[in-house]
């Protein structure tokens, strides 16, 4: 632990800490451009020069390049260093354009700050300014190369950190140009981070372009609710519109970065560009009414139906985008009022996978994304990370940069921004593959040390897994796994078998028993699957199981709280019919969903930006999102009226839990439950451990220290291969277009992936199809047309259909389908 003195303040820092970081710990911000904690030091900008007065080094040196050492005496204010930094700014500014007023970075520009702080005010350079032409980089990022100060942060982030190869430095000397080979959309789904990482305005955010200055923004810490990872964000709003979302540093979750879906998928909260897409007002049978009228209507109707048909005729639907508060309220109301529910999932299989996964997580085995970055062996089983949880791919990329071995066992044609071994095993084969991999890594000695259950489990694991097509030797990989210290198993819950999540947990547990610091990381569907699993029990039903009761007329009222069965139920017609049989459909939501259109009574609820809310991510981390603004119809885009009024247009929305409480007419609620914290703790006992008394809980994980880890002997995997000729059609997620609420954001609409059906090239050859063909797939309830993409790197006999907005996949009738070859036609 070296001790050093910086500006007369003494500090002790861990070995390997750079002087610039040591200074930051003391609250001394040494100016910098190229240095970034996530990217490391390269010493390109020379801005962080400080004077070393005593110690192993002397003179003006770059503080980012030098490790803190014992006995160093550093001055950041020494005249020589100050003069040099001022000169660096002068050098950087000789070519910087005079365009701060029309630059979106103005007001949050590091270059602006450092220029002002260095005291440089007048350009003395007699020469002319260098200019560049800009490139079109897609709908998210604007490019203005004139402003570039050549810190190389963008290319280092883009190529080294995030692993994409289509943006980099061209030319030499003072003509270095950061751009693409040809104009076009950036390939990386993490491109938005360029905006954050660029110290000046070369890359600026297009959705927020020319709309607002930093100082006018209302900012608050928020959490991204598009995928289960719960990346930390900062919401920025102005004129009642969320203008942009920025990444918020959380070392355990997302680090400094964010994926483009999380960053740009916010405009649903503004109702899109014309503000009209969001349902702002309460409605009864489609007609706008006051908040009170709608609440009274819902309350009386529900009471009436309960009285006539009994409370069991009322069903409460929740979803995995509910806040923890809403979920707890739903759970409590169902219990106290006798309603059926709450129902969280549509697909019973998914529900069981989520539950079996969540049950197996404990603090010993669950890893955060930060811990994945330090893993040396990562097995991804049944997860398409870039499409299902993009930032997890980024975390694994960091492990890959540290030379970790990455194995992906997944039937889909996976692409990831790093080198990995892809074993395109069919879903049913994933366990087999994983099992043999793990088994191969357990030595005989280790096996002897295991207790009987572990031993039994290990012995029951399949010894061999043949993988012909990829040519990957499992035994070789097992050998590598054997020498790994910190292996991590990332397990999906989408296309895998129902037993796989628990199996993956057992495998991780087994690796743990063999002395490794093994970790387990689930990819769950939706932002709050974890808490929905905590709030459900063995009797909890899914919507598919509830539906027959509606059809039989046993259920008369449905309360859908931020829940849209149309979003992921595969038989649209049946759903339509069933909902029309209801006496009452109360919908609480902020998205313009299909269900909202059918609502008898509609109550607008608040988005994550408009209320204080809590979310639990897939590793059990409780995170609080603060209210960014009060919300309402944005002023943006049109002249605000010249009237004086005392209400906010479109300001009727309320947090869903509050609306629920009001329509339940449960006045006694407040007597037994005083605070939201107590409400949550009453429903989820594990919250007691985190300390429910203080609400909001800003940091903490609500997973037990030790779960009841039981090794379940793996079942013999089903006979390989399907005898009948045909394809197994599975639904998959795709980035930007598959998730509520971001799929409703019009900012993302232009980047929705093209509707594509994925097929193995061998299968396609057999069917006489080729890459890029338009095909018509005849589903149970009708045909859909979409593009075909073929790949060698996927399992044979499978078709993958993206469950994305705009594709009418809800003609499937079931969650998966068997498609005979003749039902796929080229058109």
């Amino acid at each position: 632990m070296p001790r050093l003195v910086i500006d007369d303040l003494e500090i002790e820092v861990p070995k390997g800490t750079k002087v610039i970081d040591a200074a930051e710990r003391l609250g001394i911000m040494i100016p910098r451009f190229c240095y970034h904690e996530a990217l490391g030091a390269v010493g390109a900008c020379r801005m962080c020069a400080v004077k070393f007065i005593e110690g192993p080094l002397k003179g003006v040196q770059m503080s980012c390049m030098i490790d803190a050492q014992d006995g160093m005496v550093v001055s950041t204010t020494d005249q020589e260093a100050v003069d040099f930094r001022k000169r660096v700014i002068e050098w950087l500014m000789i070519n910087h354009p005079h365009d701060c007023p029309v630059c979106d970075e103005g007001g949050q520009c590091l270059l602006q700050d450092e220029t002002v702080s260095s005291g440089h005010g007048r350009r003395r350079y007699p020469g002319r300014k260098r200019t560049y032409r800009n490139q079109y980089l897609g709908p998210f990022i604007a490019h203005e190369m004139n402003r570039c100060i050549h810190c190389y942060r963008c290319s280092r982030y883009y190529q080294e950190f995030s692993g994409y190869r289509d943006l980099g430095p061209l030319q030499i000397g003072n003509r270095v140009y950061f751009g693409r080979f040809k104009e076009g959309r950036l390939e990386s789904p993490f491109s938005g981070n360029l905006v954050d990482i660029c110290p000046t305005g070369v890359y600026t955010d297009i959705p927020a372009r020319f709309k607002v200055r930093r100082w006018d923004l209302q900012r608050a810490p928020s959490v991204c609710i598009n995928c289960p990872l719960g990346c930390n964000t900062i919401g920025n709003s102005h004129y009642r519109a969320v203008m942009r979302v920025e990444a918020r540093m959380n070392p355990y979750v997302n680090g400094y970065f964010l994926c483009d879906e999380g960053r740009f998928g916010f405009s649903y909260t503004n109702g899109g560009a014309d503000h009209a897409q969001r349902p702002w007002n309460s409605r009864i049978s489609g007609a706008d009414v006051t908040v009170e009228a709608a609440l009274a209507e819902s309350a009386s109707k529900i009471a009436e139906i309960s009285a006539i048909y009994g409370p069991g005729a009322v069903v409460a639907l929740g979803s995995t985008r509910n806040s923890l508060e809403t979920q707890s309220m739903l759970s409590r109301l169902c219990r106290r009022k006798g309603w059926q529910g709450p129902v969280w999932f549509n697909d019973p299989a998914i529900y069981r996978k989520v539950r079996s996964g969540v049950e197996r997580l404990d603090s010993g085995i669950a890893v955060s994304m930060r811990e994945i970055e330090f893993a040396d062996f990562v097995i991804v089983a049944g997860a398409d990370l870039l499409n299902e949880a993009p930032m997890a791919a980024m975390a694994i990329r960091q492990a890959s940069r540290k030379n970790a071995t990455i194995i992906v066992v997944d039937p889909r044609p996976i692409s990831l921004p790093f080198e990995f071994r892809h074993i395109p095993a069919a879903p049913a084969q994933i366990e087999r593959c994983l099992g043999s991999l793990v088994k191969g890594s357990i030595s005989k000695d280790e096996l002897k040390g295991f207790d009987s259950s572990a031993k039994g489990f290990c012995k029951a694991l399949p010894a061999k897994f043949e993988e012909k097509e990829s040519g990957i030797s499992i035994s070789e990989l097992s050998g590598q796994l054997m020498s790994a210290k910190r292996p991590v198993i990332v397990c999906g819950t989408g296309i895998v078998c129902e037993s796989t999540p628990a199996f993956a947990a057992d495998c991780a547990q087994l690796l743990r028993e063999s002395g490794k610091k093994a970790g387990l990381f689930y990819i769950l569907p939706g932002a709050s699957s974890f808490s929905s699993a905590l709030l459900s029990g063995p009797e909890t039903k899914t919507f598919s199981e509830i539906l027959p009761q509606i059809e039989e007329g046993l259920i008369k009222a449905l309360i859908a709280t931020e829940s849209d069965p149309f979003w992921d139920f595969p038989d649209r017609e049946r759903l339509d019919r069933a909902l029309s049989m209801l006496d009452l459909l109360v919908v609480i939501d902020y998205l313009p969903t299909e269900t909202v259109k059918r609502a008898t009574v509609f109550h607008p609820s608040s988005t994550v930006f408009e209320m204080n809310s809590t979310f639990v991510n897939q590793e059990g981390r409780v995170q609080h999102a603060e209210r960014v603004h009060v919300g309402g119809v944005p002023i943006w885009g049109a002249h605000p009226p010249r009237i004086i009024r005392n209400f906010v247009p479109g300001g009727d929305h309320q947090p869903a839990w509050e609306l629920l409480w009001k329509i339940s007419a449960e006045t006694s609620m407040l007597e037994s439950v005083l605070t939201l914290g107590e409400l949550i703790a009453a429903e989820i006992p594990v919250f007691e451990a985190v300390g429910h008394s203080k609400y909001p809980i800003t940091e903490g994980r609500i997973i037990p220290e030790n779960s009841e880890g039981s090794f379940v002997k793996p079942k013999a995997s089903p006979a390989k291969g399907q005898t009948a000729k045909g394809f197994n059609l599975l639904l998959t997620d795709t980035i930007f277009a598959s998730r509520e609420p971001s799929a409703y954001a019009d900012t993302l609409a232009s980047v929705f992936p093209e509707a594509t059906l994925f097929m193995h090239s061998g299968d396609a050859n057999g069917a006489g199809l080729s890459e890029g063909d338009m095909v018509s797939v005849e589903l149970e309830l009708g045909a859909i047309q979409l593009k075909l993409s073929v790949s060698q790197r996927m399992a044979r006999g499978f078709l993958f259909l993206p469950r994305q907005r705009g594709i009418h996949w809800q003609k499937m009738k079931e969650f998966s389908a068997w498609i005979a070859p003749e039902r796929i036609r080229k058109i």
Partner: protein, 428 residues
Amino acid sequence: MAQPLVLFKNRHPNRVATLDEYRQSGGYAALERFIGGKIDPGEVVRLIDESGLRGRGGAGFPAGKKWEAVPKNAPFPRYLVANADEMEPGTFKDRILLHTDPHCVIEGMILAGYAFSATKGFFFIRPSYDSSAAIMERELEIARQSGFLGKSILGSGYSFDIVVHRSGGRYICGEATALLNAIMGKRPNPIKPPPYPTEKGLWDRPTVVNNVETLACVPHILRNGPQWFKDLSLTSKGAGTKLFCVSGKVNSPGAEELPMGTPLREIIEKHFGGMLPGSEFKACLPGGASTRFLTSEHYDVPMDFDDLKAIGNRLGTAAIMIFDQKTCLVATTHNLMKFFARESCGWCTPCREGLPYMRELLWLIENGEGKEEYIDTLRSMCKQVWNSYCALAPGAAEPVASLLEFFEDEVREHIRLKGCPFNAKAGN
């Protein structure tokens, strides 16, 4: 004392020495003795260390020390890189050497590789030396066929091969770390050590980068002993001979092999035919463009690493560029600065932005738009570019700094007259 010829022993006008000629002059004897005789590589390093051979590429780092820096237990493969990316203005010794006696370099590379058990050698050569590269490729094949190169050299079990790597042509590629990046097919930006290339160089393997001339000295030292090499020098601290390339206002510009420490006066007047008729010695750059001007007061300085260091200068590549009284040094310095500004790789700010700034100021001074304050700005920038990432910018600042030190009057004259006082401007 007769001019001792070591590297240029087999110099023939307009012809490259053949393998046979080289062998007749004692070539490959050292290779046969050390590699064929399986003498411990440590012995090679020791002998070179003792001889006091210093890098001829400009920095003057002891060659043996560099090889020793490769850890004994370092992983294989290990690489040796011969740096023939000779892009310092005024320097052309390597070209002459390669056109004189390529096998001298090849043998040197093999022995150097042997010294730290390298497995592969890269001969990194600039594109304008295409003919030299062709010669090299031809002679390498000859050496390979003669058993000096390739698998198990002379049956010793030591395998070493050399490939010629053509550069795309940039000054910065001459910098060792940038050169390694260039070989790996990355953008040739320099990388600041640590880790040193001798630990993590090409593809993170130990790599030694030596100048061609340095390598060419190796077989001769091993053959004749370190003391012989030391004695070649005229100064006590120096060692060996040095290829001096003289260009500019002398009667017979070119490259000659002279003992280390030959005084400047002797070099100009005795070996390169003296100044041109009508020219007087005004100044010279002793070691390529990135050294300081030597004025007539330094006319007798011995040209050696340490002696030049004593007067605040550097031997560099020993490429002496001579300017006469008719040459405008402001314009000359501007030309040099133009070169450096253009060749900056664009990695760090002082070099990328500072050098064009200085070039602009020199240009304005030369063209009569100069202001007195520019002198102070230039002077402070000369100091400040020393905080750049690699040595390019400090080197570039050297001519400017010495111009302001020795010829400030000339600069002020430009500003006062609002133009260049040398009406018969050379060249431009």
